[in-house]
Homo-oligomer: 332 residues x 2
């Protein structure tokens, strides 16, 4: 049986406050993947069904509802945000050569790389079609920025593969682009579409950015320390993919000569095996690297909560704060 | 020395009428591929430099100038159209596993599939950023439609690979999606951004659709009959890729039992060799399939010219008509 994590519970709490709109969003997403070209709904349904927590559209809806949105455009935007995210997942899986996502076979394994690339492009096109429907150029602006920045971050990550000499600030730039950019735009459009002030929209953008950064750092930590199969990824994925994430960067920077040598050699190899991961985990645990990564995640989590301070205390605001808090104690 | 084809001459004539804007468009395209992540400008410059004729942005500029556009937004849109096209080329080359484009090595051969996928995504994001800058939701609408339709057409083509039983109308649907959709939107945005009437914009859309269809059919014919290296593709590319194009569809439909058997068997194989192509060409020539394909291209070319009939006779209109005429006698 699937274990329910505290993070899942915190999301469920938030979803219960916006349930009707969340259901509408999911229905709208399903409508978008209809096509006479069978491979499109087949492959899209597969990746959408793996969909995970739908955190990004939940943020869009929650931010809009917190600001008393008057139209239904936030639902359209939430669906667009999720489709944009889904498109990047399809392309990521091809790029990372991942065979599993959330414990199930990835689309490019079940079909092929070609289909995943092209269906990803299709979903990206559908995402922009939805944005256009809202008539908000400001939303289109922040989300098209996000689309370009995400891709830039993914390229940055690609060229940094196996590079043990990557600096912490360079790595934070990758996180900011590949993960935080969509979180921030997802939150900001919730404000824009509710006709909120620039100040409010900036706070939401900042909230998303800090939450997204915190979220990615926790993900990085879980890749070495996670104990449950409930993470949406396999333990050691980053390590096997040659991704030098923060736990490794800290461990390398603070390690003794032998440890430095291990990290250099293990990331010089084309592939890494289970024995390598066991050794990597030993060094990481010895240096308390996970704790240090989570400390930094906590710093960003606190910043995210500060960003919400300008809003009146409502149930949804509390839900968002709980989401930040409970993310921080996610399944270690 | 590169041979200059009649089609090139006809494009040069049109470009000479819009030269200043064409140069500005090319500069704007170059500005978009600047990024601190070196791989992005490297790979983008490579594909942009192969760029071919820049037919699509030329159409946007020409249509806008024909309608006395007042702002510079048509330049922004022309650049967006070309970036969108370039993104699809990057992904196409990965999907088709093509090693050469216009006689030069493709990006995914010089770098890797992963970079081509992600840089394609980046260029797509940049294309939408540019569209947003024009402030025209109507342009965003037609171009985001085109983005989704192109991807849908590419998937349709992918699932039809090696399928000798594809019907002519199904094949025309592929062409309409993967090629004509961007031609029509490229022309339509030239009208929209010049504040033209719906009637005018519809005519431009139809002009682009018919021109694009004609253009693709000629391309299909050239893949079997082309004599110059100046086509932007290698002779036999479609055949080797297992793409069942119109010359083959006609040849299969009208062929005798032996010919039918040849087509069935040759497309059942995983790969086709030079001997197969020689035999394919013999059958195609015997049945005058190329002539029949070009006849159909001509029908669409005539339709395209009819679409222009509502416009006053200007130099640019004549340039567009010449473009249609000379495309039809492209290098056979």
């Amino acid at each position: 049986m699937k274990k329910i994590s505290k993070a899942d519970l915190s999301i469920k709490e938030l979803v219960s406050l916006i349930e009707e709109d969340f259901i509408k969003t999911n229905d709208l997403i399903k409508d978008q993947i209809i096509s006479k070209v069978e491979r499109i709904p087949q492959l899209s349904s597969h990746i959408v069904s793996l969909g995970g927590k739908r955190l990004r559209p939940i943020l869009t809806i929650a931010c809009a509802k917190m600001l008393n949105v008057k139209s239904d455009h936030h639902i359209t935007l939430a669906a667009a945000v999720e489709l944009l995210h889904t498109a990047t997942l399809l392309h990521d899986d091809v790029v990372d050569e991942s065979n599993f996502r959330r414990g199930k076979e990835t689309s490019h394994t079940l079909w092929d790389n070609k289909s995943s690339i092209l269906v990803g492009d299709y979903l990206l096109g559908k995402a922009f079609q939805l944005m256009v429907k809202t008539g908000s150029l400001e939303c289109l602006k922040t989300l098209s920025n996000a689309a370009a920045i995400i891709a830039e971050g993914e390229v940055l990550q690609l060229v940094a593969i196996n590079n043990i000499n990557i600096k912490k600030n360079e790595y934070m730039k990758i996180i900011e682009s590949k993960t935080a950019a969509l979180f921030s735009s997802a939150c900001e459009v919730g404000g824009i579409i509710s006709n909120s002030s620039n100040e409010i929209n900036k706070s939401l953008f900042s909230f998303g950015k800090n939450l997204g950064t915190s979220f990615q750092l926790i993900d990085d930590a879980l890749d070495y320390s996670g104990k449950s199969k409930n993470l949406g990824k396999n333990i050691g994925d980053d390590f096997y993919d040659g991704k030098v994430t923060l736990p490794v960067i800290i461990s390398y920077e603070e390690g003794n000569q032998n440890e430095k040598k291990f990290w250099e050699e293990v990331f010089e190899k084309d592939t890494r095996n289970d024995q390598d991961l066991i050794k990597a985990n030993k060094i990481i645990n010895k240096n308390q690297t996970i704790e240090k990564t989570l400390e930094l995640a906590n710093v960003y989590g606190e910043k995210a909560k500060e960003d919400l301070s300008i809003f009146p205390d409502t149930k949804i605001k509390k839900g968002l704060i709980n989401l930040v808090n409970l993310s921080l104690i996610r399944d270690h």
